[in-house]
């Protein structure tokens, strides 16, 4: 059948285009690690010699350690809070037929389509009118707000994927709602929860705009880097720091996507 075969047929120009597109996505980012091991404070060709001194300089910097610690704190808090809210929300909209499901989901997903600067300044005004000092707590608040949509989306896919009858079976066998959740629901959605935690952590860890408006005297890592950009002689060590962050977030995101893929809905019915 020729008419079926044409979909399967290879399209060499399109294939070349796809690889060029991937190159466009990845090559620019690779310049950061490339120049971070170049022995020159100018970020330009020709490359001079291999060096690790920018990494040493970066690791020795005390303010960098403080900023890293701040980012880890905010990231972990954001991941936990956003995922808890995500679990409640995702279970409610996937497990119960509730009226007004669409507007509810729309409201929760709204931060996705609002420009970051608007959310940032709006929260800044609110917080300052309430007389709350800018701190890592206010940054966390902003990060939770923008992470919940991602957490919801990840977990909704997970909740939709598994059979409601398993929860019903547990209930029939005498488990109350609490134990049904811990013994049936939780183990099944666990990969989704883990994926959501990792995803929300990366979002918070890399986030700049909300942190820019909402952080007080304690900078998060991206804010610290932004500050360092003002000093040209610091540029190479910023590149070194950026490279490390890139590698770490690639690993974390890959892990979260893999966890999502591993618990693909079809596989749940068999085996586990």
């Amino acid at each position: 059948m020729k008419s079926v075969a044409y979909i399967e047929r290879q399209n060499p120009p399109l294939r070349v285009y796809a690889f060029l597109f991937l190159a466009f996505l990845y090559v620019p980012v690779l310049f950061l690690p490339l120049f971070s091991i170049n022995d020159s404070i100018y970020v330009s060709f020709p490359l001079k010699a291999f060096t690790t001194k920018w990494y040493v300089q970066m690791l020795d910097s005390e303010p960098m350690h403080a900023a890293l610690l701040n980012s880890l704190r905010v990231g972990i808090a954001t991941a936990v809070f956003a995922t808890i809210l995500g679990v409640f929300g995702a279970k409610a909209v996937t497990r119960y037929r509730i009226p007004g499901r669409k507007p509810v989901v729309f409201t929760i997903m709204l931060p996705l389509v609002i420009p970051g600067i608007i959310l940032g300044v709006a929260l800044l005004i609110l917080v300052s009118r309430l007389g709350i000092q800018l701190s890592l707590y206010t940054v966390t608040l902003g990060h939770v707000l923008i992470s919940v949509p991602f957490s919801m989306a990840t977990l909704m896919a997970r909740f939709e994927g598994f059979d409601k009858s398993m929860e019903e079976a547990a209930a029939d066998l005498g488990d109350n709602a609490w134990w049904t959740f811990w013994r049936v629901t939780f183990p099944i959605v666990f990969p989704g929860i883990l994926a959501s935690l990792l995803l929300c952590f990366t979002i918070s860890f890399d986030e700049f705009i909300m942190a820019f408006f909402l952080s007080g005297t304690d900078p998060t890592l991206p804010i610290y880097m932004w500050g360092q950009l003002r000093f040209p002689q610091k540029l190479p060590s910023v590149l070194a720091l950026g490279s490390v962050i890139l590698v770490v977030s690639f690993i974390v995101v890959f892990l979260s996507q893999w966890l999502r893929g591993r618990g693909a809905p079809e596989k749940i019915h068999e085996g586990r």
Binding site: P28, V29, G86, R95, R97, I98, A122, G242
Partner: protein, 310 residues
């Protein structure tokens, strides 16, 4: 009716049945249980969205006095926005840059999404992860890497010079709207690819076979089946890029230069150096309203166009 009477006569025994009855209604009403479960998330999100927006709107009618606010409501800020040509020019430039970015990103991402949806059969998940992975890495770093590449002495200029291809650095590469558009297109590509891919993947393949059986060639098939059916994805992708990029200020600040300043840089300055929060709020609201109107108009126009085709 009977319950109210029995409460009056036998208060103790019936209170329990009352409670039991509420409990039973609660268990029976799926909606109620659903909303109870949903309430923490919905309340937090609704509060964290509504409260800041309300106060943003209120503040836009205030006036800045030194380090204090004059809280009498006035339209002064909005009047200034409409009268001052700088605001208008920046707004138009921002809309133009974001619109161009959205158009180019969708146009260039479409073949990529098409390839993965129709021509990748093995390791599809790997391709999807590869396409979206850069999106999860730091936005600041992705923009920053373009500063490294496009700079006056950046990778491209210094590379070409080292190869002896150019004498003078190419100046259009940095500190221009072109640089902003390239950088934004790169940074937001994943936002275009995903909705495009989803809408293409959903297309029923038998429709294409039917078109082929009825004698359509590849081009006609694409124009009459694939493209119309993927229009929702195209719309979603362009709005997902257009809306947030209008409000971007990192990219213009890092690679835009003086000619590349956008409206969000001005808003940010009003909350920073300029220290005029009410004016900044008014600018933010005007920007949001205009972006909202353009988006609604765009959706309306594309719906009409889709009806015309169908």
């Amino acid at each position: 009716m009977s319950s109210t009477i029995s409460i009056a006569t036998r208060p103790l025994g019936t209170r329990r049945t009352w409670r039991a009855r509420i409990h039973a209604t609660f268990l029976r009403s799926e909606a109620l249980r659903g909303y109870t479960l949903l309430s923490p998330t919905l309340l937090v999100m609704a509060f964290a969205m509504c409260a800041p927006f309300l106060i943003l709107v209120v503040m836009s009618f205030w006036t800045q006095h030194g380090f204090d606010f004059d809280t009498t409501l006035s339209l002064g800020n909005y009047q200034e926005v409409t009268e001052e040509p700088v605001y208008k020019a920046l707004l138009i430039r921002s809309l133009w840059i974001s619109g161009t970015t959205a158009f180019l990103t969708v146009a260039f991402s479409y073949p990529m999404a098409y390839y993965v949806a129709f021509h990748v059969h093995r390791h599809k998940l790997v391709w999807i992860i590869l396409m979206t992975l850069p999106f999860w890495t730091s936005y600041l770093l992705r923009v920053f890497s373009w500063k490294v590449i496009l700079g006056y002495n950046g990778a491209i200029n210094s590379g070409l010079k080292a190869l002896g291809l150019i004498e003078q650095p190419l100046e259009f590469l940095l500190y221009s709207p072109t640089a902003i558009i390239i950088t934004l297109a790169h940074a937001w590509a994943a936002f275009a690819i995903l909705p495009l891919y989803v809408s293409l993947e959903k297309i029923d393949r038998s429709l294409l076979e039917a078109a082929a059986d009825l004698g359509d060639g590849p081009v006609a098939r694409f124009m009459r089946v694939t493209l119309p059916l993927s229009l929702p994805g195209v719309m979603a992708a362009s709005l997902l890029i257009f809306i947030p990029t209008v409000g971007d200020y990192i990219t213009p600040a890092l690679v835009g230069g003086p000619d590349g300043m956008m409206i969000a840089n001005l808003i940010q300055a009003h909350f920073g150096k300029v220290n005029d929060w009410p004016m900044g709020s008014a600018l933010a609201i005007v920007m949001m309203i205009i972006v909202g109107l353009i988006s609604v108009f765009y959706i309306w126009i594309s719906r009409k166009a889709a009806e015309r085709i169908a």
